[in-house]
């Protein structure tokens, strides 16, 4: 299983991609596969301040409900509204069209503390 090299990861399977000073957050293919068919994604509203290490939303599949946890603190500047009606995009394209939120980070160096693609891959392969 390959994961994109252009982003940072958490052990809880969220990816974080730096894009023009903002951070786009989603979940990995591994997580989407584990959850099975995703039926609902609950995301924060634009403007909300989120805190690294705490849940910013929830994701539900036919099998389970899980928290979505950000690796960075900051303000939500965009959310993927398409997921309201098409949550299955998280299954089909988790690293692209299945993105979840865009955050203006208070401290972009928080990203450096997250897992690299290689570290994440090694860790999720150990499952």
């Amino acid at each position: 299983m390959s994961v994109p090299q252009d982003r940072r990861y958490q052990a809880s399977h969220e990816w974080h991609k730096l894009d023009g000073g903002e951070v786009i957050i989603g979940i990995t293919q591994f997580a989407a596969d584990e959850l099975t068919d995703i039926t609902y994604v609950s995301l924060p509203s634009i403007g909300k301040e989120i805190v690294a290490g705490t849940p910013f939303g929830e994701i539900e599949s036919v099998k389970a409900t899980s928290d979505l946890i950000s690796g960075v603190s900051g303000q939500v500047v965009a959310v993927n509204e398409t997921l309201n009606n098409s949550p299955e995009l998280v299954n089909s394209d988790p690293f692209g069209q299945g993105w979840m939120i865009r955050v203006r980070p208070t401290d972009p160096t928080q990203l450096d503390a997250l897992l690299t693609a290689e570290q994440y891959q090694r860790q999720s392969a150990a499952h």
Partner: protein, 362 residues
């Protein structure tokens, strides 16, 4: 962990395998929703070999089952299958089973997780009776083919004779020395067949069904326990460990139709009392607004007042909405009654509906 005779077939079909009641079983192959919809639209094959298969024979076989089952087994016709509960003395449900009555034997299919408990219970009540209890689970396998295309396909392609089999009827036979039992039954809300075979014959039949010899595109595709769960939930069928357990009685569980209170069986006194007084809570179906899914344990509220608990929930792939089953206080167990379900702090509006959100067209 135990493996069924179909383990290699599952691996070959790229199954995602999980532990279930001590067995390594396929959760899914291609995706739960896809497998669910394929079952409703065409046909799927499920490996259900983990379920317990217990054979009874001897002069007291019927008497033993009549004593432990809520259903009248003496009245079950030869060649028919019947759904029944087994209760403890307090009327709590030990298991829900299907009994098939043959001329010289009876077969009970029980839940995998309950097999040791049920075997012990049966052996305890067999003392002093002339009956042989033979656990055939591990030398046999069980395949369920479910979906509207099942019967026509099985008639055309399977080397088994089942004639004009009625719903909840079964027949047995032999093919090249291999004994089989085939019943027109299932756990998906669709028409279908369940086959019991020697374990060694399982992979042959599985491959025969899923890989047509003429190279045509297969119609019967494998489906896993994930789809089995969403299918049974849409069809309003209870699952032991969710809707049924030892703290619940068959009357409250909306299974009174499988109980004959006119005769003597273990737990009957308590069940007569519950029937006379009316159950305090009842199993109902719920239809939830929005896409969120209720889970086992989610509280059900009437205004701010807790009135029940969800036992199972999913987003029904065929009905296209969030559905659940729940035990609620009898006064609110009325179809159409608006309630709310607390989903991790969010109160989602719901409405009491029939247990089955989905009914197939005959």
């Amino acid at each position: 962990m135990k493996r069924t005779a179909l383990y290699d077939a599952h691996v070959q079909a790229n199954a995602k395998l999980v532990e279930f009641a001590g067995w390594e079983m396929p959760l899914l192959y291609r995706g739960i929703v896809e497998e669910h919809l394929h079952t409703r639209n065409a046909a799927s094959i499920f490996d259900v070999s983990h379920m317990g298969r217990i054979r009874f024979h001897g002069p007291d076989a019927v008497a033993l089952l009549d004593r432990v089952c809520t259903r009248n087994i003496a009245k079950l016709a030869i060649g028919r299958c019947g759904y029944s509960h087994l209760c403890n003395a307090e009327g709590g449900i030990l298991d829900d089973v299907i009994i098939s009555r043959d001329a010289d034997q009876l077969i009970m299919v029980c839940n995998a997780s309950n097999r040791p408990k049920i075997l012990a219970h049966l052996r305890e009540h067999a003392v002093g009776r002339t009956v042989t209890i033979d656990d055939q689970t591990e030398q046999t396998c069980m395949l369920a083919i479910q979906g509207p295309a099942t019967l026509a396909l099985a008639r055309a392609h399977l080397p088994i004779e089942f004639g004009d089999l009625k719903r909840y009827a079964f027949t047995s036979g032999e093919y090249m020395g291999m004994p089989y039992l085939v019943s027109r039954s299932g756990y998906t809300g669709e028409d279908g067949l369940e086959l019991t075979l020697p374990a060694s014959a399982g992979p042959l039949v599985w491959n025969y069904v899923t890989q047509p010899g003429d190279g045509s595109r297969p119609i019967v595709l494998p489906a896993g326990l994930g789809a089995r769960d969403t299918l049974r939930l849409e069809a309003g069928m209870p699952l032991y460990g969710h809707e049924l357990d030892e703290s619940i009685d068959p009357i409250s569980a909306a299974c009174g139709w499988a109980v004959d209170l006119s005769r003597d069986f273990i737990g009957v006194e308590r069940l007569r009392r519950i029937q006379a007084e009316g159950p305090a809570r009842k199993l109902v179906g719920l239809s939830l607004e929005g896409r969120r899914i209720a889970r086992q344990g989610s509280p059900v509220l009437d205004g701010d007042r807790p009135v029940g608990t969800v036992t199972s929930g999913t987003f029904g792939p065929t009905v296209g909405r969030s559905i659940a089953m729940a035990y609620v206080d009898a006064p609110v167990a009325i179809e159409g009654r608006p309630l709310t379900v607390d989903l991790r702090g969010e109160r989602v509006p719901a409405r009491v509906g029939p247990l089955a959100a989905y009914k197939r067209k005959e």
